[in-house]
Symmetry: none
Amino acid sequence: MSVKTVLIVDDEPAIREMIAVALEMADYECLEAADAREAHALIIDRQPDIILLDWMLPGTSGIELARRLKKEETTANIPIIMLTAKVEEDNKIRGLEVGADDYITKPFSPRELVARLKAVLRRATPPGIDAPIEVDGLTLDPSSHRVTANDSFLSVGPTEYRLLQFFMTHQERVYTRSQLLDQVWGGNVYVEERTVDVHIRRLRKALGARHDHLIQTVRGAGYRFSTQPA
Amino acid sequence: MSVKTVLIVDDEPAIREMIAVALEMADYECLEAADAREAHALIIDRQPDIILLDWMLPGTSGIELARRLKKEETTANIPIIMLTAKVEEDNKIRGLEVGADDYITKPFSPRELVARLKAVLRRATPPGIDAPIEVDGLTLDPSSHRVTANDSFLSVGPTEYRLLQFFMTHQERVYTRSQLLDQVWGGNVYVEERTVDVHIRRLRKALGARHDHLIQTVRGAGYRFSTQPA
DNA sequence: AAAGTCTGTCACATGTTTGTAACACTGGGG
DNA sequence: CCCCAGTGTTACAAACATGTGACAGACTTT
């Protein structure tokens, strides 16, 4: 899961600040804009995953910006959450008609904000319909999160599962420990490269004698998942 | 497929109008009522196939009407979709407890409304979907709202019932806590993810040793309902 | 009003997973 | 045959995820 980028559009610096703090604590990356022009530039430039848009903006209003964004093909599928101090329901309806995906009335708790944001992002990324991957009697099924070897279930830990999933979707190619750390652990963690060895070992053990040869050591280079003999 | 008749109950003429337009474009026949009395008369008289019921009504509240309708035998099986402007999600739960079949928070898009309406009708019409689900001696019967384990009734709370129903209709697949909150609690509720754990625990306890293994923990991922061993 | 139910949250218990270090082994070059 | 860099293997404490019991507040029923 990569870190999501949130664009906060509000003319009040204090509010932006408050939101940004809350979001950063929840591991989101924040961009800030004070008006529609600035927002638009950032959208094009940085491609945020979701936009928090204040109803009231100097110049072009928030709702106007939302409408424009939803009209353009390149930005239409970026989810938008409208923020407003207004209580009137009309605004709410108009906001959503314009294509906003959710709506938060100020004042709101940081917790609620984060929860809503999560919900919207979740809905925007529909649950994957990943097909099971099968190799040589070994099956990994993402939807049930299960690994099967000839009809019997294998018990693999979380990291080993991710490792196996990566390998099965990237067969026949060598990956260095460093690359594996990037791809399986996620870019910005600091762990020893030898840690990969240990997890490879654990994965092989979990796979059992019947399949552990699929994970091949390439001396001086890294590891490879291959159906071909080493 | 005959044309379905929809009764719209809302005190705001503008909203009724908006809904009616959307529904008529989707080929539904619309009836409108502004309050509970009017609604009741139309229900007896015209026998709508489904009711869209606003939460806020002058006089008898929407929820009160729903409760009454679900209590009476002649009207109990008319599906009800609750509409509300309230943000508090407690309402959602109470609305569903009363027997509403779905729930939509204003504001909503006409698209969403039609989609939900269709879904509810689909669920309501074929007797098949109302059929009891049986797994390994454990039976959930939506029509009687009961859970049975080998001929003895189990006492499960409302949330646990919904959780179980969701799981039994979505077996063999992992759901994250987040997804479960979406599916079982409802889209924009905001509760801690750990709350899911607690309800899982309660459900397991209610199921008893004989069946609690059906709810499996998938470490680092979520939960799964499965007849296969973990 | 009282007793009971249900829910969400917390604090603590329990159990797993993870990263690391330490040591054992291997294979290929000299 | 010996080196030794590279890899396999094991053990372990810390970090983390989940299980579990208790509790307060909101509602419902008596």
